[in-house]
Symmetry: C2
Subunit: 141 residues, 2 copies
DNA sequence: CTGCACCTTCCCACAATGGTAAGGTCAACA
DNA sequence: TGTTGACCTTACCATTGTGGGAAGGTGCAG
């Protein structure tokens, strides 16, 4: 099938399928005589795997590792679990940072009357040079 | 003072100070005869403000708005509060998404014995083309 | 005068994705 | 047959915010 079909069935955009191939996450797709990429059910299954792991927030590097583990039927399940737990730990860290920030902002917003008056504890606080602050990374979904 | 000093005092790297200026977040810095940028306490205070708001996860666009509100002493505090609450809401959304993912991964990791054996419910689940829920319907191969 | 630390601008890279442009291919339909 | 439109190809640009590094000027201290 063409890339459009594979895209539709896997939920991965054609753009991304080509990109994944270009960065070596996926092997080079078979080509037909006209130069079009050609996909079968097997390839679609791989794409679905990638899609699902991406949805769970794994980086392409991690997806690559998971693909390798997936295709190696003799790998110890320990390795897979380790990857999953590492990812869980990262999520927890980021959530903790965001909770901190959220808490701070809520406190500030709560102290701000939020009406026509110009005085605003939020800006007052932002003006204070902080010594130590957890640098919260902006995370994607 | 030179950019290095301003960087040290504000916690914003020299690289980023120049970048912020280049994208118009900050006004063009004064220059000395030798072409070096020249900063005073006022400018450092602005940089500290930017640093703090960045640490709280605001985008550069949002920082720009906050700077404008900050320098306008007659703005209604309502506007500031609105921005803060919008950001809080975004944080909550992202945290909720991450919690979902984390929950799914924890369930999967919990089902994986994580030893030398190759069978792994995590990979089994990842192989399932998902429409929505991580409900493991089909038995492992 | 030399060396070193600092400053300048400019370009590159990252991660992962979308957009768009210029062109080839193919099937269907009038 | 010819045209149309949907699809495919590659290639480049933009994003967000940050760091790295090159190539060259400046300034101070020894």
């Amino acid at each position: 099938m063409n890339i459009g079909q594979a895209s539709e069935r896997s939920g991965v955009s054609a753009k991304m399928i080509r990109y994944y191939e270009s960065v070596g996450l996926l092997p080079s797709a078979a080509r037909r005589a006209n130069g079009y990429r050609d996909y079968g059910d097997q390839e679609v299954a791989v794409l679905q795997f990638v899609r699902r792991t991406r949805d769970l927030g794994f980086s392409l590097d991690e997806v690559s590792s998971l693909l390798a583990l997936w295709s190696n039927t003799r790998r110890p399940s320990r390795e897979v679990k380790k990857l999953a737990e590492k990812h869980i730990a990262e999520l927890e860290v980021r959530m903790a940072e965001m909770r901190e920030v959220s808490k701070t902002l809520k406190k500030l917003a709560g102290a701000c009357h939020g009406d026509d008056r110009p005085d605003c504890p939020i800006l007052d606080d932002l003006s204070q040079p902080r010594t130590k602050r957890p640098a919260a990374k902006r995370a994607k979904a």
